[in-house]
Chain length 109, copies 2
DNA sequence: AAATATACATTGACAGGCGAGGTATCTCCG
DNA sequence: CGGAGATACCTCGCCTGTCAATGTATATTT
C-alpha cells in the first residue's frame, strides 16, 4: 500500500531543503538515493507539493541562473517551514510509537 | 496532520481481530485505549473499512446473539486477512526505516 | 420523559497521490 | 545530421481513503 506515503511528502521535502536549497529534479533523486531506491516521489506529487508548501509560506522559490541546460527552479525553506518540519517530526515520533503498539496483534493463548 | 493514519486503519483493525473476534464499537474503544487516547478511528472510517476488508475477503462478519441491548455485528479475521496483516507489518517496518532516514534533516555545517 | 450510552450505517465533500500527457534544452552516438 | 536519452519543468483529471453530518434502534439512568 503506497498510501503510507500520504502525509509525509511535505516533511520529506522540508527535510531535504533543510540541508540546502534544491530543485525538483535533484531533490527527487536525493530522496530516491537516500531511501535506497525504495521510495521515490512521483513528479506530479512533487510539484503539487511544492505549490502547496509555497502558498503556505513554508518554502520560497527562485530561478537558478543556469547559462546552459534546462532552467531550474530552486526552493528554500522558510522559518515557517522549519517550524512545520519540527512539528511534523514530533508527530512522527508519536505516531510511530502508537502504530508500533497497535500492531502487536497477538493471538489468544 | 491526521492523515498520517491513512493506510493504517486496515492493519490496526486486523491487529485487533487477530486477538479475538470483535464488533465495531468495542474494537474502536480498544484502539482508543491501546493508543492511550491519542488515536481514535472515526465511525465513518471504521465502518467503511469493515466493508472494504470484508469484500476483499480479509474478514467475515456474523451477527451476535444478544438477547438484550443493541445488536452487534461481529468480525473475524480470515486467512487472507492474516496474510495481509503480515504483509502490512513488514511494510511498516520498512517504511519506518525509510522515513527515519529521510527525516534526518541536518543543516550545513 | 429526557438524557446518555451502546451499536450500526450511509451520504457527500474533500484532499493528497499519481498516471498520463505536454514543453524545452543539452549531450552522445552512429 | 537525426534520434535517443537525460535533464528539467508543469498540469489535468481520476481515484481512494478519511470524516463530518446525519439517521436508526435499544437499554439504562436520572
Amino acid at each position: 500500500m503506497s498510501d503510507m506515503i500520504r502525509g509525509y511528502t511535505d516533511t520529506i521535502i522540508l527535510a531535504q531543503l533543510l540541508r540546502h536549497d534544491s530543485y525538483g529534479y535533484e531533490l527527487n533523486k536525493a530522496v530516491a538515493q537516500a531511501s535506497g531506491g525504495l521510495l521515490e516521489l512521483k513528479e506530479a506529487t512533487l510539484y503539487t507539493t511544492f505549490r502547496r508548501l509555497e502558498s503556505a509560506g513554508c518554502i520560497r522559490s527562485y530561478w537558478g541562473d543556469e547559462t546552459t541546460g534546462a532552467r531550474r527552479r530552486y526552493y528554500a525553506i522558510t522559518e515557517l517551514g522549519r517550524a512545520l518540519y519540527r512539528e511534523n517530526c514530533a508527530d512522527w515520533q508519536t505516531f510511530k510509537t502508537i502504530i508500533d503498539t497497535l500492531l502487536q496483534g497477538e493471538e489468544e493463548p
